[in-house]
Symmetry: C2
Amino acid sequence: MLPAYFDPIRGRIVPELQRFLEAKKKDLSRVNPMGPDAAQRLLDFSLRGKMMRGCLVHLGWSICSPVARARLERESAVTAVGAAMELFQSGLLVHDDIMDKDPVRRGRPSVFQQYREVAGREGRADSPHVGHALGICAGDVAYFMAFELLARAGIPPGELSNLLELCARELSAVGVAQMQDVMWGGGSSSASEEDILRMYTYKTGRYSFSLPLLAGAIIAGAAADLKARLEGFGESVGLLFQIRDDELGLFGAEAETGKPVGSDVREGKKTIIFASLMAAAPPAERGRLGGIFGNPRASAVDIEYVRSAAASPDVRRRIDAVTEGLVRKARAAIDGLPSGAEQDRAAMAGILDFTTTRRH
Amino acid sequence: MLPAYFDPIRGRIVPELQRFLEAKKKDLSRVNPMGPDAAQRLLDFSLRGKMMRGCLVHLGWSICSPVARARLERESAVTAVGAAMELFQSGLLVHDDIMDKDPVRRGRPSVFQQYREVAGREGRADSPHVGHALGICAGDVAYFMAFELLARAGIPPGELSNLLELCARELSAVGVAQMQDVMWGGGSSSASEEDILRMYTYKTGRYSFSLPLLAGAIIAGAAADLKARLEGFGESVGLLFQIRDDELGLFGAEAETGKPVGSDVREGKKTIIFASLMAAAPPAERGRLGGIFGNPRASAVDIEYVRSAAASPDVRRRIDAVTEGLVRKARAAIDGLPSGAEQDRAAMAGILDFTTTRRH
């Protein structure tokens, strides 16, 4: 579970998203009825998320401006930027689901799947293609609305260019890391542990943690060394978050994760578990493993074979070496924060705990 | 042809795009080799465009600040924003080509098609899907890079939020208008002339003309009435531009337009010609026309039938009534501009001329 510290922050982001997207529904109704309809779908979709990224903007801001916390007008900008982060995330997920052919997301039909059903009801013979096309548009619109929200967040003029550059630059890196993930998946390509950790850093780690923390720090006008500390903390917990994701995909409970056990294996996703397994396995086993990874028809017995191989001491040792180093780095970043703001430090420790122990 | 006035402006945007995208190649190489490769593809793609939108930023700025033209530091911001417009356009086209299944754009394989070929060479059995997925990512990256360029353009801080809001809001409208275009296409849905003109206004008119002219006006710190005049001019010439596009699609020379004659008809695109034809045709003809629009196997005889029906006096009268009104409005907007800057007024007249007479 995310630290309870985040509950009231989430309680501010929800109405901000509602307010902004209700206004966009009106604004887009001048174009056509599909505009307000898309804004409503993106609102529903965004509200079903944990809003971790949005909340981290507030945490980054709070850490960097313990005194300024009372300045309410600045806090409203922080909330708006948090809401923008959630819209960026919605846009990325809408596009990801098309790429991953994922018909379900956050417990409901994914956005492209919703449009596919709409096209089907309208009698379109090419409803799968129409679903993809409208999903591409909806993701694009989510990004553009997020940037519009940034523009209207009330960021002090001198800081808006820094914030915009930060968001745009990190998002480009996410797109490029996603390309690598697509290109590796399903193929017979190999990828080293180092390559995979770099992909995680840009696709998940920096984007999900460093970016929102730094966004908050920029709004607070933080000094460079404090920003660097938050950035580093974000990278460490971001990698831990993704590694945990991989473990849940293989060892988690399907009822909790909402994802079929072994789907990463069948899709041939290049995960850190895959790379560690291949590096640690004796040559004889490597052949069998290579035949299972990326095989959509891999059996339950095959998946069980991968699970037990991944649980072997050699593989655990490799992965633990990585995660223990990351936990150490994250703890050092927390310890190095300026004193005061004990609540914020506790929230950071809570995030570290969340990334390593979460069950879904 | 675009007015010669634009040649030196294009001559500034080209090196700006090169400089920025070369820097992004370096920046994205920290992620993986697909990053610089994608930036190079987007650079090549962007450089093959006419750069009309980028040049219009300069024109809007020049009209609104005849005195400030000597201030070189501001002109460099204008060039950077012009380059950003070209990157937005590249992103939209990369995504459009996926939606329209268009394997060729600007005389070369479209970006998703390039990635499809890459995936094929790497032995991916699912190369069509990989091409789409990487094309989605490449379009996203183009948008994000465009926003990064805006952030780094050196816009005066007080004006950046206005510029960002303008771009983001117009781009959302483009996405939503594109959704309508997708939903209408191929289906048996009907659309009135009014509906289609509204779709054109947001998908093409405002985005391609009003947006860049207003972006230039914002950089110049123009007054509201002058901005409104440019915005209106943009809407008028934008609609003329799109109506001309439809006419070239049916009556143009394939060798000049690069587009098979009648492809709009076979795809069932809801164009102003389609709506005017359906409105003007006697009921007996309407049935045959309805069977041709949206029929991918419509014969050359069918297309010739549509051409001659569209050339009938009744249909011409309907379309001419629209275009003549738009030309009048555009001329009035030019006449109402403050005196001075005769070169700029001539350039606007040249654009009006271009939108109504261009052959490709």
